[in-house]
């Protein structure tokens, strides 16, 4: 069974801080889908997660799980009654319990006779069936995080919260664990909110991405939309280099990904002329830093990053033309 998680006008300010950690947030994690929260450090991602878990109290607003309020001006459901699973950044495995005992910890509602089966099933699901008697310190980083997944999912929570679950892992392990977790969550049809500062994780795992900037939600959408059509410069730069295109002839301002800007022939028409400032060969392609010139100079004109696979040499001072998406 999976349930939606809704935030309605949720606000939270920590003592001794001068701005809210989250400010009037309206957000829904749809049932059975994975929602990723991305943003810079201190943007309020983890606070939103802890609010859903019941580890923090909202100052105002309400939080609903499966359409029932769990925190509002009259209701307060403590964390142990919310039927939520959570995976912590450091795993938060109980060091004095074995892998099997860690998984069993949340199974107090499961009848004794089926507990062993449940433990076996979830340890097998994360590939740790042979490690049931090991203690957390006897497992590798990846195994520990897998055990945390099994422990969180075994009580069959209504939703799962993941707080930077891959941040302590090396890149290769990170990718394989990310794929495994996505497969498991999809198979179990579990609602999940994942907090990550790594936007690659968010793009790879989530059905929806919410961008947080200084406690406010600035954009919510499917990964491709958030990546291709960022709502502002903050959202654009969060996912990698972005070239700012000011409002031209009444069209809205945009941020373009370098891979969407093609160096082309001036005759193609409707191109942006740029002057090359520096060139660097990265092995995969040539990276060009160039200054665009617009008919009507924008108040803040930033340099662009372009990629080129051309074999002909490009040098600083060269004049090039860039075709915009859909115009090359």
């Amino acid at each position: 069974m999976s349930a939606s998680i809704q935030y309605r006008q949720v606000q939270k300010t920590y003592p001794k801080t001068n701005r809210p950690a989250v400010e009037k947030v309206d957000l829904t994690a749809p049932a059975g889908k994975i929602l990723a929260l991305v943003g810079e450090s201190g943007s309020g991602k983890t606070t939103l997660l802890r609010l859903a878990a019941g580890l923090e109290y909202p100052d105002t607003g309400e939080i609903l799980i499966d359409d029932s309020p769990v925190a509002d001006h009259t209701t307060w459901v403590p964390p142990e009654k919310r039927r939520i699973g959570m995976i912590f950044q450091d795993g938060a495995l109980f060091p004095h319990l074995t892998a099997a005992q860690n998984v069993a910890y949340g199974l107090h509602d499961t009848p004794k006779e089926s507990q062993t089966d449940t433990i076996d099933r979830f340890l097998t699901m994360v590939g740790l069936s042979d490690y049931s008697t090991r203690f957390p310190h006897e497992l590798s980083g990846g195994e520990r995080q897998r055990l945390a997944v099994a422990r969180a999912l075994a009580p069959q929570p209504a939703a799962l919260l993941l707080d930077e679950p891959f941040s302590n892992l090396d890149p290769a392990l990170r990718r394989s664990l990310r794929d495994e977790i996505r497969a498991i969550l999809t198979e179990l049809n579990t609602t999940a909110i994942i907090v990550t500062h790594d936007t690659d994780d968010a793009l790879a795992i989530a059905h929806q991405i919410a961008v947080l900037e200084e406690g406010k939600i600035t954009q919510v959408g499917p990964p491709a939309e958030v990546y291709r059509h960022p709502a502002n410069g903050y959202g654009a730069r969060l996912f990698g280099p972005a070239n700012f295109l000011p409002s031209l002839n009444g069209s809205p301002e945009k941020w373009l990904r370098p891979e969407d800007c093609t160096i082309t022939d001036p005759a193609a028409g409707n191109t942006i002329p740029v002057e090359v400032i520096s060139v660097q060969n990265t092995g995969r392609h040539t990276e060009i830093i160039a200054q665009p010139s617009f008919p009507d100079p924008a108040p803040h004109q930033e340099n662009w990053l372009l990629h080129s696979d051309e074999t002909s040499p490009i040098a600083p001072g060269d004049q090039l033309h860039v075709a915009l998406p859909g115009q090359s």
Partner: protein
């Protein structure tokens, strides 16, 4: 408004916060009574302030200054030597320099009691040569000087422990950078290591000061009337309770001001403190001559604070144990141990309650209250005892009138073991609360959050997660409390029920009767218990250090 109150009650009011609130208020009451007592002058106050008050204050400040200076000399160079250099016996000194803490100040006074007598021939010569005024000055100098010396000898480990911890956590790179910039080891110490360790040294020093002000036994035996001695004289000598409370209030307010200053100092300095480095200081091997000097430097405080008192106690005990070890004395041991044990259990339970409630409720009010309730560690035992006595005196009269109305037999709490146990709780709560608070924050991290999310109540989480994980910290904290209670003197003298003796009061009673050699037997038991406690604690801390 109604919904805000409703919300507050739903989130903040539970068994944990309510019991913490009640216990904290109960513990704060005697301390508050003492501070409020500042406003009331007793009948003898004018006499006291005209005659002895400034002697009390002068002696307290003078003694604190002398002990601080000597304790710094006995602690800081030694801490630097065992942290930064390699020499024969270094490992032994590293942990034995902590052991003088096992010798209570009044036991050290027993060991050094006969010293001024040895100076009598010299003093007579001074009198005959320079006159009575010089004689009096010389006699006082010897007494005060000796008192300062052995008090520093048993209290310096407070500074040594924190300084050593600070030196051993300093980043190797910083020290090595100073050395590669051409600084000698001595210059490196003064220009880099010492400034970095200053906050830790000040923290240790503040504990030394509190112990000096707390002391009653040693200053009494050496005839140096400090403010604490003044409380005893005013209450039991002059019979002026209100003025005694006022003296206690003066000490309490001065200590609170000092703590606030120290806190402000540490608050700024925290940013300057280095993080724990995985690369510890690499110790430089000392040449033969330098190694001999290092050994002597470490041996001096160890001799003053531990070896000499221990030698005295052992010699005297072998001479007198058959006289002292009577069935009465065995009963005193049983009393002492039982009282300390039961109080330790209650104190540890309260400390767990406080530390856990702080984790459950991020309430500034509750946390603040918890901190105020642990202020008793700064208050001298005599001050706490007075607060407790006044508080229970008031409750006694209330219950007396109640029992008269109801026709029940009368019961006095103020003369009972309950009062003394409660006073120990007020005085020593900080001892287990601080390590438990730190332990919960450091070791438990998000583990109890994880347990709650997995459906366990706060109580089950405490029982299944926090307590098993913190078992070592709890045992270590309880042991510290046990040793502190076992050796406590001034509070016990004031509050013990009639004919009830502990090891500490037995030792002090024998000493004040002039039976110093017999007092060695109970003293030795206290010192050995404390020493074993410190050794176990040292092992535990070494095992748990990163």
């Amino acid at each position: 408004m109604a919904s805000t109150i409703n919300k507050f009650f739903k989130r903040e009011v539970d068994l944990w916060s309510t019991s913490t609130l009640l216990v904290a208020l109960l513990i704060i009451t005697p301390l508050a009574i003492v501070v409020l007592g500042l406003g009331h002058a007793g009948p003898k106050w004018t006499h006291i302030s005209d005659t002895v008050l400034f002697t009390y204050i002068g002696n307290t400040v003078g003694l604190a200054a002398a002990v601080s200076a000597l304790a710094l000399l006995m602690a800081v160079p030694q801490a630097w030597l065992v942290s930064a250099f390699e020499f024969p016996g270094r490992r032994l000194f590293e942990w034995t320099l902590v052991l003088p803490l096992a010798v209570p100040t009044y036991v050290a006074a027993f060991a050094y009691y006969h010293f001024p007598e040895q100076a009598i021939p010299l003093l007579i010569q001074i009198r005959d040569t320079f006159g009575v005024a010089t004689y009096a000055f010389a006699e006082k100098t010897i007494r005060y000087g000796l008192l300062s010396l052995f008090l520093a000898g048993v209290l310096f480990p407070y500074i040594y422990i924190s300084a050593r911890a600070s030196f051993s956590q300093q980043r190797r790179a910083v020290i090595e950078a100073a050395q590669t910039l051409g600084r000698s080891p001595a210059a490196t110490f003064f220009s880099v290591a010492l400034p970095l360790a200053r906050p830790a040294i000040v923290a240790g020093l503040s504990l030394v000061l509190m112990e000096v002000i707390n002391d009653y036994g040693a200053v009494h035996l050496f005839g140096v009337p400090t403010l604490t001695e003044g409380i005893f004289r005013t209450w039991f000598g002059l019979g002026d309770r209100a003025s005694a409370i006022r003296l206690a209030g003066i000490i309490m307010v001065a200590l609170l001001a000092f703590l606030a200053l120290e806190h402000a100092h540490r608050g700024r300095a925290r940013f300057a403190e280095p993080s724990v480095s995985p690369a510890p200081l690499s110790r430089r091997k000392l040449s033969r001559g330098a190694a001999a000097a290092a050994i002597i430097t470490c041996l001096i405080p160890l001799t003053i604070g531990l070896l000499f008192p221990l030698w005295r106690l052992i010699t005297w005990s072998t001479m007198t144990w058959h006289k002292v070890f009577t069935p009465d004395f065995q009963q005193h041991i049983t009393h002492s141990v039982l009282l300390a044990l039961v109080t330790t259990l209650v104190l540890t339970a309260i400390a767990i309650l406080f530390a856990y409630t702080e984790r459950l409720h991020h309430s500034r009010f509750l946390n603040g209250l918890g901190r105020v309730a642990t202020l008793g560690y700064a208050a001298p035992g005599a001050v706490v005892a007075i607060g407790v006595m006044v508080a229970f005196g008031a409750s006694d009269s209330f219950f007396a009138s109640l029992s008269t109305k109801l026709g029940l037999p009368k019961f006095l709490i103020s003369g009972s073991l309950l009062a003394i146990a409660f006073a120990y709780i007020v005085r020593f709560l900080a001892v287990p609360v601080q390590p438990l608070r730190a332990g919960m924050a450091r070791v438990c991290g998000s583990l109890d959050d994880a347990s709650r999310i997995l459906g366990k109540s706060p109580g089950t989480t405490l029982r299944k997660i926090n307590l098993p994980i913190l078992r070592g910290t709890i045992i270590a904290a309880a042991m510290l409390v046990f040793v502190d209670i076992l050796k406590e003197l001034p509070l016990t003298i004031i509050l013990r029920p009639a004919n009830f003796e502990t090891l500490a009061t037995t030792a002090f009673g024998l000493a004040t009767e002039g039976r110093i050699q017999e007092s060695a037997v109970p003293s030795l038991i206290i010192v050995l218990t404390g020493g074993v406690g410190l050794i176990i604690l040292n092992r535990f801390m070494r095992r748990n250090s990163p």
